[in-house]
Symmetry: C2
């Protein structure tokens, strides 16, 4: 598991320790795909070790994100969620506002333009987040049927 090593390196580089709870939370987090809330992660972590505390999940997910292994993903209703980036190359989201379905995509021309924008303003890129909101074909059909 390469991600674990990356996390250990990150911690070492920042004078922090690799502990069992951190390992458990990382494992629980990596083992689940999709957009997870803190509670989702806590639930998964407790399956591995019931002693994990909620506060530790908050503290650890922030570390995992700083280590570049996770990123925050905005959900339609404003709920805070995270997704991991392991074996999961960068991508953006197309989200259906009707049913909540999420499609992941990657568009190289957009990625290239984004780099141009960073350069134009002299920013050092640290990542980005793009969410396209729309109505999926199924929900469009449903909506037409109801009216």
């Amino acid at each position: 598991m390469n991600e674990l090593v990356k996390f250990e390196n990150y911690l070492r580089a920042h004078g922090q320790k690799m502990t069992r709870p951190r390992r458990v939370i990382l494992e629980a987090f990596l083992g689940t795909e999709g957009h997870l809330t803190i509670d989702d992660i806590l639930r998964e972590a407790k399956k591995i070790d019931a002693g994990i505390g909620q506060a530790t999940v908050f503290r650890t997910i922030r570390l995992i994100a700083s280590a570049g292994l996770a990123r925050e993903a905005l959900q339609e209703d404003g709920a805070r969620t995270f997704e991991h980036l392991a074996d999961h190359p960068h991508h953006d989201h197309l989200l259906c506002v009707g049913c909540g379905k999420v499609i992941e995509f990657l568009n190289p021309s957009i990625e290239k333009e984004q780099q141009n924008i960073f350069a134009q303003y002299g920013f050092e890129p640290r990542g980005h987040m793009m969410e396209l909101l729309g109505l999926c074909p199924e929900c469009q059909a449903k909506e037409r049927g109801e009216h």
Copy 2:
């Protein structure tokens, strides 16, 4: 003030009433640029009418957003903020993770590509949000100085 009329129309179309608190909150909101938290809006609204309640701001900002006059903007630290769309054409954000500075920009090729993505998946576009995260020139300098 055209936005007020739009809001009135929205309310009428949805069988809701235009009230003084709603007018005050809309005015306070439109009168301030940038990314506002609920508390920011409440503070501004209280300058106009001290009797405005916080719950009403929560309830009203949701209406304003539904009416298409505001949208949620994600801040780096996860704080929920809103920005109005009056005299303020669509744009995306370039956010400094160091100092929180926000630069607004619009890139036509990205906008066009986004439409292509909606089309490709058969989605009916409802909007989007793009946040580029990076370190601004000032913070880059600061960071180099400190290490």
